[in-house]
């Protein structure tokens, strides 16, 4: 207990300097935590994906469609439980910055495939019955202030024209890892309209979503689907939902890597600040260390005094930083809700925060400790003047 008291008193001998250093560490840990959370948000879609869902798309690229007739053939493959399909609609609500993902899907199978989208029973039936109806996540409904029964108009980018939809259901996520910003409506509504206006786009499906009976069948079913359509006009590529989402993340890998590098840089910056503080502190106290040595204290004891002080300072800063991370994440999430539907602090981030603080404390103390330990007693005493 005594040693803790000494460390604490030592650390706060120069209140201003220590206060500033702690503030610096707080900011750095805060930045580090935010960046880690940002990287996690990038992978949120991957984390939320289920092992029993497969995605089938045209093997050329996502921009090419598949015939709607493939659905029946896929359903006959052993191991397939549910087949749903949809198209990326890409509509714009009023202006481009109001972005949210919007799809045309086959509603019954889609909701069966995604049990994590929770809809009240009456809204679910209302959505099924109304061909012009749509369901949307709680977050965008709140953001735009829509109410059940409201008509919402999207401007088509892929499918020309103004499209009217009626809000019939508001879904919530089963847990906070679920994307609550999706907008989906009846695929039939899209298809019937497109038959009139742009016939070449009719009866075309952007992707099939397939639910398999169990996770260990996923690989065989995927192979079976691709084999079925090999050498046809539209060859398919089937992946697990996880691999599909990872593919998307991989395309923006350069940015994720940059963020990760930057999050390490912030630790280096703060290491420089703490090392500077410790260097100044030991320079001022060199005479005291000489006295301690005269009294018979060994190198390890002096070293542990300095390391301990460094640790006290960084630990205080780290705790404050962690405490501030939560409100900061809430603010950033509010600002970037368009880009990242899921944004939350993982436990792993907290562990990394603590580890970073420990590393900073240790490295910052190395140079000052060496100097304090090496000083000869007579020389140190002379410096006291």
């Amino acid at each position: 207990m005594l040693i803790l008291k000494i460390l604490y008193r030592n650390a706060f001998r120069n209140r201003l300097r220590t206060g500033l250093t702690i503030l610096g560490i707080t900011v750095a840990i805060l930045a580090f935590g935010l960046l880690r959370t940002l990287v996690d948000a990038w992978y949120a879609g991957v984390e939320a994906s289920s092992a029993i869902r497969l995605v089938t798309r045209n093997s050329i690229s996502l921009a090419f469609p598949l015939p709607v007739a493939y659905g029946d053939k896929i359903r006959q493959i052993p191991g397939v439980k549910i087949v749903s399909w949809g198209n990326w609609f890409g509509g714009i609500y009023i202006e481009e910055k109001n972005f949210f993902p919007n799809f045309a899907v086959e509603p019954r199978s889609y909701l069966a495939l995604y049990p994590e989208f929770v809809l009240p029973e009456d809204q679910r039936t209302a959505f099924y019955r109304d061909r012009k109806g749509f369901a949307a996540g709680r977050k965008i409904v709140e953001k735009f202030g829509w109410k059940l029964g409201d008509t919402v108009t999207l401007k088509g980018t892929i499918y020309p024209g103004e499209w009217e939809f009626v809000l019939r259901g508001i879904y919530r996520g089963k847990d906070d890892g679920v994307d609550e910003t999706q907008f989906f409506f009846h695929w039939d509504y899209l298809n019937e309209a497109v038959k009139e206006t742009v016939p070449p786009l009719a009866d075309q499906v952007g992707f099939y979503l397939i639910g398999v009976r169990s996770a260990d069948q996923a690989a065989t079913v995927a192979l079976a689907i691709d084999a079925l359509f090999k050498n046809s006009l539209a060859e398919t590529l089937t992946e697990t939902e996880r691999a599909f989402n990872l593919g998307f993340v991989a395309m923006t890998e350069a940015i994720v890597t940059a963020i990760q590098i930057v999050s390490l840089l912030v630790i280096v910056i703060i290491m420089a600040v703490v090392a500077n503080t410790m260097a100044m502190t030991t320079r001022e106290r060199i005479g005291e260390y000489a006295i301690l040595k005269t009294l018979g204290f060994g190198r390890t004891q002096i070293a542990s005094l300095i390391f301990g002080e460094s640790l006290v300072i960084t630990a205080l800063g780290c705790l404050a930083g962690i405490a501030l991370t939560y409100p900061a994440v809430a603010i950033v999430h509010h600002e970037l809700a368009n880009y990242f539907p899921v944004f939350r602090v993982e436990r792993q981030t907290l562990c990394l925060d603590l580890a970073a603080a420990l590393v900073v404390a240790a490295f910052a103390a190395i140079i000052p400790t060496r100097r304090a330990v090496r000083i000869r007693i007579a020389e140190g005493l002379r410096r006291m003047g």
Binding site: L16, R17, L20, T21, L23, G24, V27, A28, L30, A31, L34, L35, S59, I60, S61, L62, A63, F64, G90, I92, E96, K155, G156, T157, I158, P160, G161, V198, P200, N231, L233, E235, G247, A250, M251, T252, E253, A254, I255, A258, I259, V262, L265, V266, V268, I269, I270, A272, V273, A275, N276, T277, A279, M280, V332, L336, Y339, I367
Partner: protein, 388 residues
């Protein structure tokens, strides 16, 4: 009389470890600040240089990128009758009908597939883009299953060397050339014959029509006519404006990310500077008293310490920019959110970024130095002399 400049400079040089550590912290912040701005600048420059001011592209109304657009043959023919179109090098109108589709190709480095733009060219496509130069091989022959690839694609994607074959749309495409389009988006594309590609991908419509204006100022007239024609439901955009638009979301994202990061980081570095300057003031209490006793005014002391902090900031700024300038050697290749296609661009250092970064570094020095300098200036002569 002012305290000489060398006093501030020498003070910094005297305490090397502390000065270096503090300047290093600032240099890192400036480095990150400059790098992010360079990245956004590079992205924008690449896309701005891709389009020409007097080229006009016509896409389906409401489409956000070429990939989702569609222009049927008869509509394309109507567009090409506009009187404002310049005369082309082959006689006739200076225009081209193009197809743009995405295909997935594996990257060399990771083997992961990424989306690549294939552009079906025809008519005067090449003459409309004078930036495109063939550096190896030749251009594909019209009406054949031949393609040429951009330099960035040839470097980054598997199986894109000369005489290799690309397989897509149940056809094989022989690569007969590699082209360099300088610092533009075309460098991340693959070009082939539009009619052949349309058959292979079973596309009944072109993606866009592009033409050159005989006079750049006639754009408004032709835009009004095309946008207003109810038969077409197409819209005309200047090529330069179209590409500038494509960089908007991504550049904005990079800027927001960069600025919020650096504003947090800079707090750390400012605190570092403040610690250093406070201790500089504390260590020199006696000296300050002497200076005051010699007749230097409070404002001279304030200026000397502020100058010291600004010098510290400028060390950090210069060092940060020095390392950031090496980033220009790096080319980033990533997916553009707006087109979902791969785009390669370089970190680009512009004079504006140099000025902004130095200003930022000096700002950090100033904010870190102002409180300690005020403390130094506010000291009582007698008490500070006694402290020595």
């Amino acid at each position: 009389m002012a305290i000489p400049f060398s006093y501030s400079l020498r003070n910094l040089l005297r305490r090397r470890v502390t000065t270096t550590l503090t300047a290093m912290g600032m240099a890192l912040v400036v480095f990150v600040f400059a790098s992010v701005l360079m990245l956004a600048e590079g992205l924008q420059q690449t896309l701005v240089e891709t389009g020409s001011y007097d080229n006009v592209i016509v896409v389906r109304k409401g489409s956000t990128s070429e990939v989702v657009s569609g222009v049927e043959r008869e509509k394309a023919a109507v567009v090409e009758t506009q009187p404002e179109i310049a005369g082309g090098p082959r006689g006739g109108k200076f225009a081209a009908r193009e197809l743009v589709v995405l295909i997935a190709l594996p990257k060399r480095a990771t083997g992961q597939p990424s989306n690549v733009t294939i552009r079906g060219i025809g008519g005067d496509s090449l003459a409309l883009r004078p930036q495109v130069r063939v550096v190896e091989g030749r251009t594909p022959r019209p009406g054949s299953r031949e393609v040429m690839v951009g330099l960035s694609i040839a470097k980054r994607f598997k199986g894109t060397g000369i005489n290799e074959k690309l397989c897509c749309g149940m056809q094989e495409w022989t690569i007969v050339g590699i082209f360099d389009a300088g610092n533009t988006g075309f460098n991340s594309e693959i070009w082939g014959d539009s009619e052949q590609l349309m058959q292979a991908f079973r596309r009944p419509a072109y993606s866009l029509v592009i033409f050159k204006l005989r006079d750049a100022s006639e754009f408004e007239a032709v835009r009004a006519r095309i946008d207003g024609d109810p038969r077409l439901s197409l819209e005309a955009k200047r090529e330069s404006a179209y590409y500038a638009e494509q960089s908007r979301v991504m550049a904005k994202f990079l800027r927001i990310l960069g600025l919020s990061l650096t504003s947090i980081f800079s707090a750390g570095a400012v605190i570092g500077a403040m610690i250093t300057m406070y201790s500089a003031v504390a260590n020199r209490t006696g000296e300050i008293g002497t200076l005051r006793a010699l007749g230097f005014q409070r404002r001279n002391i304030l200026a000397a310490f502020l100058l010291e902090a600004l010098l510290l900031g400028s060390f950090g700024g210069v060092a940060g920019l020095f390392f950031a300038s090496f980033m220009q050697l790096i080319t980033v290749s990533t997916m553009n959110f707006q087109t979902l296609a791969e785009l390669a661009f370089r970190f680009t250092l512009s004079p504006a970024i140099v000025v902004e970064s130095m200003g930022f570094a000096l700002g950090m020095g100033f904010v870190g130095g102002v409180l300690p300098a005020r403390r130094a200036a506010g000291m009582n002569i007698v008490e500070s002399l006694r402290a020595d």
